[in-house]
Symmetry: C2
Subunit: 223 residues, 2 copies
């Protein structure tokens, strides 16, 4: 297995996370680096989605990934092996989310020179990560079909802070009681501006729409 | 829809959660009430599993359910309608877990007279709920097949605090890359004493084994 850098990040010392997040965003803007915060439940397919997306975009953008996990470095290794891009692992030491200062500690360990896009794969959790602005330009989340179409009702904050909701594992739709139209309605209740993109990360269907959204986002940010 | 009691619980004022949990457990022991803390990711099928299990046990035990949710009362209503048992909803006000004091606030609203078993359906989250002893006699968790067999590697604490791991959605095993034997090994790495029970809550397969485990647990506790 490839070796990846593993960073043990520590709890934030800053009291005002929102201010710190804004200042991180300004720094990134001045460096021309776009940061995406990607959230989801455990097992929704974040890593597989990222590998597909990075392979579609890596000739157009220089990309780095930060994988946050309580323990283990399997995701960072998987991404490095499958895409060849810069990939580091952030250990949160049991913490259930990342805030702006923790994200900054991660970014300090990324070689940002020439990088256009950094994707932060947040801890698998629909509750706590939604409460902390990481300093990312946008929040996106992945909901997978087996989790159920009612999740926007049960985890309102997560869906209201996300500008993009990816619905993954569309290939198993026939085996689950999941109503895509109803789910889209629920997402709109939480955030009328949110874009919904159904995909199947396993076979790649729909991933191009996510890659296109990301490319346009990064291009606009760098102007 | 049936009306269910909705309780807004507040953050704990106790500094020492472990001591408070032990004292809650002693009180429950003296009343002959068994408390099970059931945890999982969002969408793993906790509510469906509970409905099946309660319907198998309700002639043998008097059961009450406390459903913890950030928002909404859909789960408590669903359980009340499907089983007829006492079911209350705990609103955590954005909190991502329950501690012993919050559990006690819930129990204060349950009519415990004659009740043998209270099941606490914790907030859907594999991280934070594992860190707080609720005062339950046992912790159990549900992992569903679509989430992946590697979850014990990624959420070590959750699996080490649970004495029972239910593997749900076994009916969709053919459509996912999930190795049951590998998963059992990973669970054992985290907790060698943990029992693993594969089920399909949707069609009821395997649920009897969970009901039997629970009946034996409650019987022993009340001796």
């Amino acid at each position: 297995m490839d070796k990846v850098k593993v960073i043990e990040i520590k709890k934030s010392v800053f009291a005002d996370n929102d201010r710190d997040a804004d200042s991180l965003r300004s720094e990134l803007k001045s460096k021309g680096v776009y940061l995406l915060n990607l959230m989801s439940s455990p097992g929704s397919g974040k890593t597989t989605t990222l590998i597909r997306t990075i392979n579609l975009l890596k000739d157009k953008l220089r990309i780095a990934v930060m994988e946050a996990d309580i323990d283990s470095d399997v995701d960072a290794v998987k991404i490095k092996e499958a895409t060849g891009i810069q990939s580091i692992q952030l250990h949160t030491g049991g913490m259930c989310h990342l805030d702006a200062e923790m994200t900054r500690q991660g970014l300090d360990n990324v070689m940002l020179e020439g990088v256009d896009l950094v994707i932060l794969e947040n801890v698998g959790n629909l509750v706590c990560p939604a409460e902390f602005d990481t300093g990312a330009v946008r929040n996106a989340m992945i909901l997978s079909v087996p989790e159920g179409d009612d999740k926007p009702l049960k985890y309102p904050l997560m869906f209201s802070v996300c500008d993009l909701v990816i619905i993954n594992k569309m290939d198993v739709l026939p085996y689950f009681n999941f109503d895509l139209e109803k789910c889209k309605e629920y997402v709109k209740m939480r955030n009328p501006r949110a874009r919904v993109i159904p995909i199947c990360a396993l076979n790649g269907e729909g991933v191009e729409a996510f890659a296109d959204w990301l490319l346009e986002e990064v291009t606009n940010w760098k102007q």
